[in-house]
């Protein structure tokens, strides 16, 4: 008994014995490979298939058979000739199939050795390097710029997969001829055979049916486990990519941010609000206008050059229009990438080290009276940005207002200015330099929403904590304008900062108490209820004991 396989040749159905089918398929594939890249190859293949169909039909009629056997396939091969006979090698026929010169490589994705899409192993095959290096480059690019991810995606889409044996050979730059194809197919087949053989040995070694069954079951489980592991690995791979995407993309944007912020392209304020070139200001506020700014500028440009150049050459290759001197471009790009990266790291390190030490400087001013109306109307914040350069000063909008109990008889306003620096003295010098305008007119205390430091001081994490110290019995009204300044003010009702606005508060022994809040009962009754509940619980426990 023989199993048959049905095939459709030129619209006619044939039944082929299993062995005959395998042999015929191999033959036809080889013929196709030989003809594929010839002009009109598809048409020739169709003609040949029609001819084979005709020969098959003739033989079936002649021998009164239904199924095609090995004999028929051998007859076909003898009649039509070996695959290399199909190559039309007369001089005027432009064909490349068998004659692809050795070393002429094409970029394919190598899905046989892939983690994700086979891009890295394809590129490795193209450059004849170990795939590990390509993967490392991708990962580095992924984590440092995110370009790795985008490049990968684009390449994944642009580079075709190496599906046929001919393409697999072209991928490695081996000449596509029949003997090579045969060798490559054989290698693949041998791999399959070996695995199959091992499997068979394991299953037939003992001859005892029970052991065989157990073996088979074990094999089954191992196969399932293997499959599961593979799935998990793929899953982690995907997760990895997603993480990479997020991190990489952020860094990518950040790098562009550095570009945008360190370069003012011909005075075009492309990131501006109210006429201020925000980015440029920010960069100058942090980097100053000295060597670090220059280094950052050159560094970012050099760093970006590589991915851009690399992408260009790879895309050019993917679309089969290789740049004339792509290698040189890559070398230049790679060198500039490393120089740029070291410049960035050096400048970044310098800047970071100037944030090392933190010190504070305190100034206290006594206030007149014991009833206050607190406002923030002197210098008002223009936007939500932390710092920006305004004339020769650096505006820092990082003021935090707190109200605390004072044990002195009179109220006072304390300003604690914090700043960082490369050394203690550097930080101290910086901490002393700050301007925070405020004034008292009768009960009205006008504060500012930001403070200024000299531009040369640069932004080094400066912040200002303004604390209003109130003696017990004094009152303060919080004008809505101070809303942005309030920062975690403790009060007897546990109210949020935002809720404290627009009310008058009195400093009592237990803290700030609201004089005109309507919902106060709610807050207090809730606290009382909680206390009662806790007491009841305790009583219960005592009784039980």
């Amino acid at each position: 008994m023989n199993k048959t396989i049905n095939i459709n040749l030129a619209g006619i159905i044939f039944h082929l014995d299993e062995g005959a089918y395998e042999s015929f398929k191999d033959y036809l594939n080889q013929v196709k490979n030989a003809l594929e890249s010839q002009e009109g190859g598809a048409e020739i293949i169709a003609d040949i298939e029609a001819r084979i169909a005709e020969l098959f039909s003739m033989r079936m009629q002649e021998f009164k058979r239904e199924a095609i056997t090995m004999e028929d396939v051998n007859f076909i091969q003898a009649t039509l000739g070996a695959p290399q006979d199909f190559e039309d090698d007369s001089d005027e026929a432009p064909h490349t199939s068998a004659g692809m010169p050795a070393g002429k490589k094409r970029l394919f994705r190598n899905t046989d050795e892939s983690i994700i899409g086979g891009v890295a192993s394809g590129i490795a095959a193209y450059f004849g390097t170990d795939v590990v290096w390509i993967r490392i480059i991708f990962l580095v690019l992924l984590f440092f710029t995110g370009i790795g991810f985008i490049t990968y995606l684009i390449l994944w889409m642009a580079i075709p997969e190496a599906k046929t044996t001919a393409q697999k050979l072209q991928m490695r730059g081996e000449p596509v001829n029949l003997s090579n194809i045969e060798r490559s197919v054989k290698e693949e087949l041998d791999g399959v055979k070996e695995r199959f053989g091992r499997f068979r040995e394991e299953n037939q070694g003992t001859g005892q049916s029970i052991r065989r069954t157990v073996n088979r079951a074990l094999n089954f489980i191992i196969n399932i486990l293997e499959w599961l592991f593979r799935l998990v690995f793929k899953f982690f791979g995907l997760l990895f990519i997603l993480f990479g995407l997020v991190i990489g993309f952020t860094l990518f944007i950040a790098l562009f941010g550095v570009i945008a912020s360190t370069w003012n392209f011909g005075g075009i304020d492309f990131v501006s609000i109210d006429g201020n070139i925000l980015g440029l200001n920010a960069a100058e506020a942090v980097l100053g206008s000295g060597i670090e700014l220059t280094l950052m500028r050159i560094g970012t440009l050099l760093t970006l050059l590589f991915p851009i150049l690399g992408l260009t050459t790879l895309l050019a290759k993917a679309f089969k229009r290789p740049l004339a001197n792509g290698r040189l471009v890559n070398i230049v790009g790679g060198t500039s990438f490393f120089i740029g990266l070291s410049l960035l790291l050096y400048a970044g390190g310098n800047v970071l080290s100037s944030f090392k030490v933190s010190t504070t400087e305190m100034r206290t001013v006594e206030l007149q009276g014991n009833t206050f109306d607190l406002r923030a109307e002197l210098l008002e914040e223009s936007d939500g940005f932390l710092f920006e350069i305004d004339d020769d000063n650096l505006r820092i909008e990082n003021v935090k207002l707190d109200i605390k109990k004072s044990f002195d008889p009179s109220a006072s306003l304390a300003m604690k200015h914090r700043a960082r620096g490369s050394s203690n003295s550097d930080a101290r010098k910086r901490a002393m330099q700050f301007e925070y305008p405020f004034e008292q007119v009768g009960p009205v205390i006008s504060l500012s929403e930001y403070f200024t430091v000299p531009e040369e001081a640069l932004y080094r994490g400066q912040e200002l904590e303004v604390t209003l110290y109130l003696p017990i019995g004094s009152e303060v009204y919080l004008d809505p304008s101070v809303e942005n300044l309030l920062y975690g003010i403790e009060n007897a009702h546990n109210m949020w900062d935002g809720e404290m606005i627009g009310h008058t508060w009195k400093m009592e022994r237990r803290g700030l108490v609201c004089m005109d809040c309507e919902e106060i009962d709610y807050f207090e009754s809730e606290a009382v209820e909680e206390q009662i509940e806790a007491l009841e619980l305790e009583i219960k426990k005592l009784k039980e004991n």
Partner: protein
């Protein structure tokens, strides 16, 4: 130098002319052409012919039409186009010149 190779080269050179010659007398279907060529021992296997026919057709020298067949799929019947006919005539002249030239050359008595 292999003799088989040289023989094959010689045959290949005149194959196109022979195909055009066969089609000059009557339209034919690939199998007919193959049979005649096989009989003349100009080709050994059919595979050689298909790429050649397609190339000649693409060059505008041949035309084809489909015809139903009782056994198997429809057949491609090839015929000479006008330019194919002109091409064949020119080849014929060249062949005759060649033939006489070769004859004269190879049968000339040795004179040293």
């Amino acid at each position: 130098m292999k003799i088989d190779n040289t023989k094959a080269q010689m045959r290949k050179g005149i194959l196109e002319y022979c195909i055009l010659g066969i089609l000059d007398s009557s339209d034919a279907y690939a199998s007919d052409i193959i049979d005649q060529l096989k009989e003349a021992k100009l080709i050994v296997v059919e595979g050689t012919l298909y790429p050649l026919l397609t190339r000649l057709k693409n060059a505008g020298l041949l035309e084809y039409r489909w015809e139903e067949s009782s056994s198997g799929p429809p057949r491609k019947y090839y015929s000479l186009s006008d330019s194919g006919r002109a091409f064949q005539k020119e080849l014929k002249m060249t062949w005759e010149e060649l033939q006489s030239a070769v004859t004269i050359l190879t049968t000339r008595p040795n004179q040293s």
